[in-house]
């Protein structure tokens, strides 16, 4: 509040005068701030959507895990790594070993299966991942929430929470049929806010037989030391036998969110900017009317000795306050969206991904700045008109 007191101290026109002017025309204030609130709401929600998607995919990967896929393939589903290549990768140095002395490597087949959604019955593509015993060790963020994990060598599968809730046949105790076999869901796993929540896991060898695959999709392993990634990468790239791309797991998943997140934030920002024109015009109309109806008052203030800049600041302050009220209202409405789960197909992987709207401090600041900017643009011309009024003319207007 100090800066406000300082500002009003400079202008001489008290803040309460500005606030009371808004209160005097309640309907107009509510309508104008309401328009701005809606724009801020759209702006914030879209940014929250993109942030939620990014957060989910960035959180999926572990920084000390490395993923290897076929050269040129952009996703695990497109990739194919032969058993021969896999064993060369497995024999590389710098791979961490587990407590039992074996290397922490998981060779995983990843495919998509078409499943109907629980509510609408419309089909979508779900990632089904074959994991080995180290698959769970490599992903400490995954815990079994319900039931138990699958037994290796059987037709048992476990489903991520979003899939169990969102797709038919994927809840615990239900069965899914694919590849001429029935698969029983024996457990539901909680992977926090990560992409794994939108996957189904089963035994790698069983799934490869079912889908008649000879090749894995990706090889995931843990580094001895997260800082040695560049050494590992150089080693793999100089090995003529390996035609593979190697990435940190965290980077790999972050890349997969890029296109969709960019699409959402570009589209959303463009829409918000266009919408804001409407809200700015609303503020302008309100502020012009406010100036017009108070011409005599402005004259009086000037006659009392308040300077032109004091008048300018007072009216700009009124417009900024209007924007601020709209911004706060819009943000409050948008923050409720955090309770809404959302699920859509990621263009890049062609697979379903569930995420939530995420409100970050950056979004709060950006939304408020956007609201204040709308108020400023809408209020500037009317405030300038008020400041330019001649005392005599203004007083005569009454």
């Amino acid at each position: 509040m100090d800066c406000v007191r300082w500002a009003s101290g400079v202008t001489g026109i008290p803040l309460s005068y500005i606030a009371r002017n808004l209160m005097a025309r309640r309907l107009t204030t509510v309508l104008t701030a309401g328009g701005m609130a809606l724009v801020v709401y759209v702006f914030a929600t879209v940014l929250m959507l993109a942030a939620g998607l990014r957060e989910t995919l960035v959180g999926t990967g572990q920084p000390d895990n490395v993923i290897v896929i076929r050269k040129g393939s952009q996703s695990e589903v497109q990739s194919g790594v032969s058993r021969g290549t896999a064993s060369i990768v497995e024999s590389l140095p710098l791979i961490a070993t587990g407590p039992d002395g074996t290397k922490l490597v998981s060779k995983e087949p990843v495919v998509l299966i078409n499943l109907p959604k629980r509510d609408s019955g419309k089909a979508s593509n779900v990632v089904i991942r074959g994991v080995t015993s180290h698959g769970l060790t490599l992903r400490p963020q995954v815990t079994i929430a319900e039931g138990r994990t699958f037994r290796p060598g059987t037709s048992e599968i476990i489903a991520g929470q979003s899939i169990a809730a969102g797709f038919r046949g994927a809840a615990i105790g239900e069965t899914l049929r694919f590849g001429q076999r029935d698969w029983t869901v024996v457990g539901v796993f909680d992977a926090g806010r990560t992409g794994f929540n939108s996957e189904i896991w089963g035994d790698a060898e069983q799934l490869m037989q079912t889908f008649r695959r000879q090749a894995y999709s990706s090889i995931i392993f843990r580094l001895v030391d997260a800082d040695r990634f560049d050494d590992l990468k150089r080693g793999i790239e100089s090995d003529q036998r390996l035609q593979v791309d190697v990435k940190r797991e965290s980077q790999f998943y972050a890349d997969q969110s890029e296109q969709l997140a960019k699409f959402i934030s570009y589209l959303g920002t463009t829409i918000s900017v266009i919408f804001s024109i409407g809200a700015i015009i609303g503020a302008m109309i309100t502020m012009y009317a406010s100036v017009a109806s108070r011409t005599a008052e402005i004259g009086t203030l000037r006659a009392l000795g308040f300077s032109r800049s004091a008048i300018l600041v007072a009216f700009l302050g009124e417009a900024l306050l209007l924007g601020f009220v709209g911004g706060v209202a819009g943000l409050i409405a948008a923050s409720f969206m955090q309770m809404v789960p959302i699920s859509t197909t990621n263009f890049q992987t062609f697979a379903e991904i569930a995420f939530t709207f995420t409100l970050t401090p950056f979004i709060v600041l950006a939304s408020l700045a956007f609201a204040l900017l709308m108020g400023f643009i809408g209020g500037f011309l009317p405030a300038a008109r008020a400041a330019r009024l001649k005392i005599v003319d203004a007083l005569r207007a009454a």
Binding site: T28, L31, Q74, K122, Q180, I271, I274, I277, I285, T345
Partner: protein, 385 residues
């Protein structure tokens, strides 16, 4: 003659305010139209389908292909007249951002099933005889300034390596709904190269396209095709081309619903702005309305004046907006490149725009008109605006 003129004069008494309101309405209605057009573009793939075509794919998901010998079996299914097939190639042209759909198609049959791709006969022939040839839609050729005879390299993501094609033909759509951003090349070229390098990945079709004799029998024929491959290693799922395309739309439904919701939000925003304008206008004129009432005009007449004024501003803005939407959509569609291959403002969208303008005008004037209609003469005359 007097009343319309009176309304119009009133509307432009505050020139600045009316102009600003109209600009707001124009922006909002254009944005509304553009968003509806984006939603339409999403459905364009489904709109352009033919009811005489069915798509057969692997029942597990599109990631899994179907064996080549299915073509012969499908052809024998009762009701199927012709069969072709296509594979999604998923290559990258220079950088990932240059996205357009690429299909390896059976050149001899595929183009026959899609008569809406209109070719010059000599170009079609040139494509048929060149196994490294490719045909593309007009929009795609214009975007990358490709000319007949150009070499186009693609980096494979599903099929490794760099693949080079020679542009042999450019097709135009038979109507505006046809996707002119496709890249179609010889399946046999893909198949032979793949077979030489990865024998297990050869002789596979991503999807089969079936032409049926009687569209009314689509459901029965689909069931017959799927029954043929029941309990085989690759079970199939056959559906109409429209259902197949709508399947893709359904996957991104959440985004679509959001865009639709947002298109109504802009109408609500402008409703608030317009309602504010009308409330201020009416408040300033209470004494005039009281005078008119004192002269003998009824409350209904006064209310009608406000409604008519609001409607004429909204509708004026709405009409300008509809006229502006077409060029704006053109610019937007071109800027988006191949993301929205089919992008044009439909008649329904235009009607919805006019409808939205009318609703904005009516809703905005409702409260002020009701208040002005009921105002007591004494209070009105006393009012200072």
């Amino acid at each position: 003659m007097f009343v319309p003129l009176f309304v119009l004069r009133n509307a432009f008494r505050h020139k600045l305010r009316t102009t600003l309101t109209m600009v707001g309405i124009i922006v909002a209605i254009v944005a509304f139209g553009l968003l509806r057009t984006i939603v339409d573009a999403w459905y364009a793939g489904a709109e352009a389908t033919s009811s005489a075509r069915l798509i057969t794919r692997n029942a597990i998901s599109l990631v899994f292909a179907l064996p080549m010998n299915y073509a012969q079996k499908i052809r024998q299914v009762e009701g199927v007249s012709r069969v072709s097939w296509a594979n999604w190639f998923g290559g990258v042209y220079i950088t990932e951002s240059n996205f357009f759909p690429q299909f390896a198609v059976d050149a001899a049959t595929y183009l026959e099933l899609y008569p809406e791709y209109v070719f010059k006969p000599e170009e079609k022939k040139a494509f048929q005889v060149d196994r490294q040839g490719v045909v593309v839609g007009r929009k795609l050729a214009d975007l990358y300034r490709w000319k007949i005879g150009d070499q186009v390299p693609l980096r494979g993501t599903i099929y490794p390596g760099t693949w080079t094609f020679t542009l042999r033909g450019i097709y135009d759509g038979a109507d505006a709904k046809v996707d002119e951003s496709q890249f179609l090349f010889h399946w046999s070229y893909l198949n032979e190269t793949v077979k030489a390098r990865f024998p297990r990945r050869g002789d596979l079709a991503g999807v089969y396209v079936l032409e049926i004799r009687d569209p009314g029998q689509a459901a029965e024929i689909s069931a017959r095709v799927d029954a043929t491959f029941k309990n085989s290693l690759a079970e199939t799922l056959t559906e109409t081309e429209k259902a197949f395309q709508l399947g893709f739309v359904a996957m991104t439904e959440a985004i679509l619903v959001a865009i639709q919701a947002v298109s109504f939000v802009v109408i609500v925003i402008i409703m608030a702005v317009m309602a504010n304008t009308m409330a201020m206008t009416a408040r300033e004129r209470y004494s005039e309305y009281a005078t008119m009432k004192a002269l003998g005009f009824g409350g209904g007449f006064v209310a009608m004046l406000i409604i008519a004024e609001s409607l004429s501003i909204a509708l004026g803005g709405g009409l300008i907006a509809v006229a502006l939407t077409i060029p704006v959509a053109d610019i937007f569609g071109n800027a988006m490149g191949t993301l929205f291959p089919v992008f044009f403002v439909s008649h329904e969208t235009m009607l919805m725009q006019i409808g939205a303008a009318l609703v904005v005008g009516l809703v905005a004037s409702a409260v002020p008109a009701w208040r002005a209609g009921r105002i007591r003469i004494v209070d009105g005359l006393r009012s200072v605006g």
